[in-house]
Amino acid sequence: MALASVAHARPVHDRVWLAPTAELPEEGGMIGSIALDRHGGFDLGAGYGFGGIAELEFALASSDARLCEPCSPLERSTATFRLGAREDDLFEGAPALVLGVEAGLDAHVSGLHATDAYVVATRHVAFVTLHAGVGASATGHDNGAATTLVRPLGGIEMIPPAFPKTTLLADVSWQPKFATAAGAMTTTTSELAFAWGVRYQTFPWLAVELAVRHDASAFGDPDVLVRVTGQWGTGTLR
């Protein structure tokens, strides 16, 4: 395979913070990220672009799902497949559109199931980027019925003209929450999460982000996270 090359196209971010965007990596492009929070939770993610119209991403995370009570991070490995069209591909002025499905990789081991399906649109307007969509979140465990919720999701990014490498961002998403009582799984649901922060595009291929996350059940006790995202091209064999 051709040697990996650093991507110099406009940086692609497939997530605002937790909320997905409709941006897809270039053909053969890869996106990788690593995040840490103040509780020691971490996220590792890597995505690969299929022909510029799809992305397959694998992630190992302990900072999105929660196992309560008391609530603590739940480590999960997931795979996400995203398929979509870029801005203006469908017609002039069309937003970028992505249909995504995220499924757990280790659900058959842990017995905790969480699958998300969403449709999200992204549109750049001047120095603001808007992301809006709707998602269906299904959670369940081996011995219980599934709970499926349909909820909106979205985010906003703003690049101040005076600071072209800096992006202010905020998003709203829904994250899996599993509740136990007396050692037995009682409920599974999705909980609202709100995150806001700053992204600094150090290089076209490298960004550093700092964000604060509030969960609905612990709004007054936010989490602080830092993330580094890189992207590069892998070329093709043609």
């Binding site: 119209i53 799809a54 795979a79 398929l83 499924a103 199931h113 269906a136 043609r238």
Partner: protein, 385 residues
């Protein structure tokens, strides 16, 4: 005066004596140019491949250092090896024949002495580039396209449900195809309320035959009749078998889209403790329970990247169910992207919902596959002709 006469006489006597002396000596013949010496005849250079001495190496009479040295090769001197025994080469040189250690000459292996004189074979015409292979499978459903003759096809994939699939095929004479595969589409559950789980590996063999697109008449779709059958599978004290007969038509819609439509006739059998059912048992099932339509569509919005969607069927066994609930055909929806990384390799990924009729999002699986196709066997067969 007398003295002068005597001197004169003496002088004349001396002169006469000298003349007599010279008369006795052979008069010197004028030297004729000597004929040039005839050089010794030169032994013509031996025929065959030439090697060269890579050092000043002695030539022996025999293949042993104890034998007599005939002479010493000079660095770069040509030799013609015609025999090798152990570490020694029997060589001809311009000065004769003898033995030299093989390490002192290059290209010592004796070859056909007439090899250099064989006429060069005519250059082979350049092979045209191989056409792109039309895939025989969308995701879970077959297409109406067959693999070209002797083309090998291999697809391997995994999914988030822990399933592994593998499919190996070979084209037969451009009119048929044979393959062996493992699938995780066949599922079982212990009772009606349990979560269905895949039975794997489930090994099947497939034979398909058909007619290529536009072969019979313009606009004719590709038509393929296929048969897939499993080996008996034992799991949890139950034995299951499946067989599927398919007929599918595929048609390109322009350069970047294609449509696949077909029908399938399923058979499945469940035997085990407390279970006994078969789709062909018409006391339980109707013929209509075995028949299902299927189809798929593929679109290439960008070169080398196709979006594919298909709807197929797969059997689900229920051990503790009764009557017609023991074996059911479940609709399976799949969508994803095939990305042609190279002419011989494609990366594929997508989403598969094993029972779309249940609309259970938790059942959705993300899959990733890699597909290889190769014309190597076809080229080898063609080269033998």
């Amino acid at each position: 005066m007398k003295h002068k006469e005597i001197d004169m006489k003496k002088w004349i006597a001396i002169m006469l004596a000298s003349a007599a002396t010279h008369a006795h000596a052979q008069p010197a013949q004028p030297e004729e140019p000597k004929p040039p010496e005839t050089p010794p005849p030169v032994e013509p250079a031996p025929r065959g491949p030439v090697a060269h001495a890579n050092a000043n190496a002695p030539i022996f009479t025999d293949a042993t250092r104890d034998s007599k040295i005939i002479y010493v090769l000079s660095l770069g001197e040509s030799v013609w090896p015609f025999e090798i025994v152990g570490d020694w080469s029997h060589v001809k040189t311009a000065k004769g024949t003898g033995w030299v250690l093989t390490k002192f000459i290059a290209d010592a292996a004796p070859k056909d002495p007439y090899e250099d004189h064989k006429p060069a074979p005519p250059p082979k015409p350049a092979r045209p580039p191989d056409p792109r292979v039309a895939m025989p499978q969308v995701w879970t459903t077959p297409t109406g396209w067959l693999l070209p003759a002797a083309v090998l096809y291999s697809r391997t994939g995994v999914d988030t449900g822990g399933g592994v699939q593998s499919d190996q095929r070979v084209g037969l004479g451009d009119v048929a195809e044979f393959g062996v595969s493992t699938t995780d589409q066949v599922r079982r559950k212990t009772d009606a309320t349990a979560v269905a789980k895949a039975i794997q590996p489930y090994v099947t063999a497939t034979f398909r035959m058909g007619v290529g697109e536009d072969r019979l008449f313009d606009g004719q779709p590709g038509l393929v009749l296929g048969f897939r059958k499993s080996f008996e599978r034992s799991l949890e004290d139950h034995q299951t078998r499946i067989a599927e007969l398919t007929f599918v038509a595929s048609k390109h819609l322009g350069k970047h889209a294609a449509l696949h439509v077909g029908g399938t006739f399923w058979d499945a059998e469940l035997q085990g403790s407390g279970s006994s059912a078969a789709l062909h048992d018409h006391t339980i099932y109707a013929v209509g329970d075995q028949l299902r339509p299927f189809g798929g569509i593929q679109v290439e919005p960008i070169d080398h990247a196709e979006i594919l969607v298909d709807l197929g069927w797969a059997p689900e066994f229920c051990y503790a169910c009764t009557g017609a609930d023991q074996i059911k055909l479940r609709p399976e929806l799949s969508w994803g992207v095939r990305y042609q990384v190279a002419d011989w390799m494609a990366l594929e990924s997508g989403v598969r919902v094993p029972d779309i009729g249940d609309a259970n999002l938790l059942d959705a699986q993300i899959f990733g596959q890699v597909t290889f196709t190769t014309w190597a066997l076809r080229h080898a067969v063609d080269d033998l002709k």
